[in-house]
Symmetry: C2
Subunit: 256 residues, 2 copies
């Protein structure tokens, strides 16, 4: 039986990046796609609570079933693997996102929310992002790399609870120097909200922001991407900062 590849994203079911990823996955196995009805960028690891979720069948053909649901990317993974897949997926993919999910962006990303959820549920999972926000982004140059990384993970798996956050620079194929496995750069977004005043004189606030990188090291995803490499960060569903457990013990375990 062919491998089953489950795909989601956070740009919705009509995104070009999704179509590119589905095309690669169909060369490798049977494909089930469950995406959000609407763009779900910035939905992070959020869940739909308080209202139920509806599922719509977009298409069914041999080797490819495609659904849209009213939930978040994490809901797509949970509901898809439980109710829509004919058998247990061998690989979960998300993307190809239109825009970077490197560095701090991973914690806001619906694309990577889905991937990290899949890894917690026990699936080998990969998120792909191209550093090009345009709706009409050209995914051609990155597809050989996407194919190769997917094959590698289908053949060899990933360690339990480990997923990959793959970001691809916006470069022609021949200018991509290769792959670097990295850690996330330390960074944040400042100047987050722009205040405006509506015609009635009432203020409102638009999300905006300026990316501030705190990290000059050469073992980071931002370094790799700025230097023409594809960045691969091994990620896990765990926010623990292990180096700070011991110092915090001294401060907090001595009672009140």
């Amino acid at each position: 039986m062919k491998p089953l590849i489950f795909i989601t994203n956070d740009d919705g079911h009509s995104a070009r990046g999704l179509a590119a990823l589905v095309a690669v996955a169909r060369e490798l196995g049977d494909v089930v796609v469950v995406t959000t009805e609407l763009n779900a960028s910035g939905k992070s690891h959020s869940l739909t609570t308080g209202v139920p979720i509806r599922v719509r069948t977009i298409s069914k053909e041999p080797g490819l079933e495609q659904y849209a649901c009213t939930g978040t990317p994490v809901d797509c993974v949970k509901l898809g693997e439980e109710h829509l897949c004919p058998r247990r997926p061998d690989l979960v993919l998300s993307g190809i996102n239109h825009g970077s999910n490197a560095s701090i962006n991973v914690i806001y990303s619906g694309t990577m929310g889905a991937v990290i959820e899949a890894s917690a549920l026990g699936y080998p999972a990969i998120g792909f992002s191209l550093l090009n926000h345009s709706e009409n982004a050209d995914f051609g140059a990155c597809l050989p790399f996407v194919r190769s990384i997917c094959r590698n993970v289908l053949d060899n798996g990933l360690p339990p609870r480990i997923s990959l956050n793959v970001n691809i620079p916006k470069l022609p194929y021949e200018d991509i120097k290769g792959i670097k496995v990295c850690r996330e750069s330390q960074a944040y977004w400042s100047d987050s909200f722009e205040r405006r005043v509506d015609p009635s004189g009432r203020p409102y606030y638009w999300l905006t922001g300026k990316f501030v990188c705190l990290d000059n090291a050469t073992d980071t995803d931002e370094w790799a991407l700025h230097n023409g490499y594809i960045s691969v960060v091994p990620t896990h569903p765990d926010y623990t900062a292990p180096d700070f457990i011991e110092p915090m013990r001294k401060r907090f375990e001595n009672g009140l």
Copy 2:
């Protein structure tokens, strides 16, 4: 000048856990509260994109300003520190959540999304959660511990980008054995969606789930909480799995 303490949560502005945290914070400094208009449980690290955010002033009195906004808990932090605080906060608090944010729950939690965002923005930040989902939960027993942890962080700060995920067992004060600094338990939620059929015969899906703990170790938050301790997990805004960088280099850096 008194310390400025910024507070948010994900249960909304009328939650009892918020009122309890505000009461503690007022003993320690001036307080600015920015919460979501509605319950935002499960909103994780999500941002509001595509629509602007409105802010409503709930109350202003000496030492306490309280606002509600139409965004997520992470939006509350970003917008609050940038546009609503009279000066730079000395401490950011979130909670007290009605229900656990231990183990894998931290990645879904709006309470902890706000805390981890604050840490990325450079603030010492603490999330508090009581293991009691009830709207009418009694926060009395945990307040001496909450006060003590807040004082400790106000006096000594936290390392850059480090925040604390504090979970408190549902026990009388005298039965709480103390504080354990821990790592997150490895766990996941299975059986996530329940399928039902509406009166028109169309299916819909409710989020539900069963907590599955993979971890029997005694250095985890689940162990601490089951054994009568308050758990304190040092958290950071980084999903990198550092132990897997080197093994993945061997697999992915050798070119296509």
